[in-house]
Subunit: 459 residues, 2 copies
Amino acid sequence: MDEILNIDFEKLQSDILELLANKKYSAIRNIFLEMNPADIAEIMNELPLSNLPVLYRLLPKELAADTFVEMDSDVQTHLISSFSDTELHDILDEIYLDDTVDIIEEMPANVVKRILANSDADTRAMINKILQYPEDSAGSIMTVEYVSLRKNMTVDEAINRIRRTGIDKETIYTCYVTDYHRTLLGVVTAKDLLLSESDKLIEDIMETNVISVHTHTDKEDVAQMFSRYDFMVIPVVDDEDRLVGIVTVDDAIDVIEEEATEDIEKMAAINPSDKPYLQASVWETFLHRIPWLLLLMISAIFTSIIITGFEDALSSTIILSACMPMLMDTGGNCGGQASVTIIRALSLGDVVFKDIFKIIWKELRVGVLCGIVLAVVNFIKMMIQYPDAGFSVKIVVSLSLFLAIVVAKLIGCVLPLLADKIGFDPAVMSSPFITTIVDALSLLIYFALAVVIMHIPVT
Amino acid sequence: MDEILNIDFEKLQSDILELLANKKYSAIRNIFLEMNPADIAEIMNELPLSNLPVLYRLLPKELAADTFVEMDSDVQTHLISSFSDTELHDILDEIYLDDTVDIIEEMPANVVKRILANSDADTRAMINKILQYPEDSAGSIMTVEYVSLRKNMTVDEAINRIRRTGIDKETIYTCYVTDYHRTLLGVVTAKDLLLSESDKLIEDIMETNVISVHTHTDKEDVAQMFSRYDFMVIPVVDDEDRLVGIVTVDDAIDVIEEEATEDIEKMAAINPSDKPYLQASVWETFLHRIPWLLLLMISAIFTSIIITGFEDALSSTIILSACMPMLMDTGGNCGGQASVTIIRALSLGDVVFKDIFKIIWKELRVGVLCGIVLAVVNFIKMMIQYPDAGFSVKIVVSLSLFLAIVVAKLIGCVLPLLADKIGFDPAVMSSPFITTIVDALSLLIYFALAVVIMHIPVT
């Protein structure tokens, strides 16, 4: 990314520290003025905390607020502790409400108190309300700063209202038409306004089929609606259908990325973390990974019981032991492919539970194809690797492989669908989990075939 | 998703088919007029192809074009074949250029020819140009329909220009200031225009620090810039810094979702497909999955060689065989956790190659923690499961487990970083791949410890 952005962050950081040591403040200010808030924040995140208050005060008010929003939360906490109450008030004044709420959610309690104490009564009430929505709901990511219009305004009056009140709104490009009870009547875009006659009435140009979400709608579903309908913004209504806020596309992108990361982590048997990798401590990373490892390790007890039960089969030829890892890994890989595909398709909305028979039928055919190819290749491989071994052991391994693959594909597609149906997150049916189940089943098939085909007595 | 959208697609489909049978066309039209293009397309995708031309002609021109863009490509192909040249021309006229290019990329050659033949000469030239950009580049997803302004215009003149030309532009909210050579000078938002005095000059209100991308920039990097900077749109320039197009946030969202799906597929050892699960044929799904399965199965030859080499160790006690799957699975899971975390962090830009020592140091500590916990639990588990077995075999299994976990964590984090460094996609260093390597290493550690601690002669 750094190369794409064409910014050498390390050089900039050392330049700034040098200028700071020489008290060349206006030179630093000029560097910052050329930069985007996200980039300034990236530099400040890495600088010694003691230098931050001085550097931060070099930024003009609006740029300072935009930069603050982009910083790591420990840096924000440090900066807030260095602010006077007036400074804190000024910053909070510039920040959009949804960003303030995001910041508050990461802060220690004493800092939250100071932030609330330095907000206006109105803002404080709104922050408190947003904080009460469930963590993953539309309400928790919405902002309340939108442009509202009345249906009997003319286009000109509407444009004047935007000119008067637009400066503090997160977007002025989608305006909402409400009545005196704040019921959502329609939506008008700035494009509609600019392209319409100035004396037309809003009610004549507004779109009345407005797609909205509820304050309690899952934010993942909200994000999927942005991707489905190519929206820039979506209105959020309460139980009485009153407009209470809007979610903007930049927040939807964050949700889409977060959710993909969460899915990926769950698929690798990791409890999701909301911190970037390098910011999570070793202890946190350990705690997110160990529960699944423990559970999966302990469930391997089934495979060990199966193996112990077939001691005679295993001791009859070392080839049966030697092919065990190949059989289990291939089964695990096949099951993993199927489960990951279905989990992703579920979370993109490409498949739903009622497709289960279509899916099983498809995976069955894919499994048979994969099984035939792999079993034949394995048979040839064994002819080369063990030319002197009996025919029956090669048949046992190849046939087990075929059956294990078909079973793995079926289990891999069915379990995520069932998990989803009974209200669990399908991503929990990840490949490590499927692998553990498929391992035990493959070994059962393997030893059963060995007993039957190679005429080995069971212990 | 269906429940969130509050649309019962199956009922709607049967209602529409019934209305169609009774020739109640205006009732159907009224249903469609209340709906969003993406939803109409979803319904049409599932209806019998023979009914489509009639239904489609019920839509007013603009809605028809928006719906067309959202349809599956086989439905689009069928519809185009039923269009007269005039109808095709009208539709193409309504569609934004980047969508036309998306459609063309999925069509058979004869349909592409008809589309090009029914476009204006200008459009045809632009389509051909966009089709020449590399598949994953900014150029391939951009649109050329943007608003351009001159720096010596007044705010009023700029607004008038938007009113005159805006109707055909994909966005009018971000306008680009260019000179007569199309060199990008600055950017002005509709918000700036609406909130400024009408006689101000554009050059006095434009932002001159414009972040742009090159036509050949990877579209994944472009999408990451949207997420980093909260952009709605980003300008695309050519080698001579001339503005050639824009990428809008809706296309960036598609790229972000596609890339996450691709990463997830690669992590499960599947070659990425660009079709939704149910649309891909069994044969396609098979072809995307089999290469990695074959490669991984054949690489299991190393584990079988290792096992064959330690026949004596294995035959000394069944417990060594019985614990093999647990050891290999746990190693594979630990390596998978590390690799998946690093692959995702790389693709979100959270880590870069130069962090390698920080990452190794962190994974080493996490590995030691996980290793201690799992080895101790395993030791206790073995005391219960095999009370009569010797002390040395329990030590061999637990110590191997500890070492395998630490090695797995290190390999899991290093390989994706190395792959990225030498220009490969790090997602290829997926958990199945890591598992295969870790399997062989764990078994080597396992048998070596068995030989040393249990005094078993090597074959």
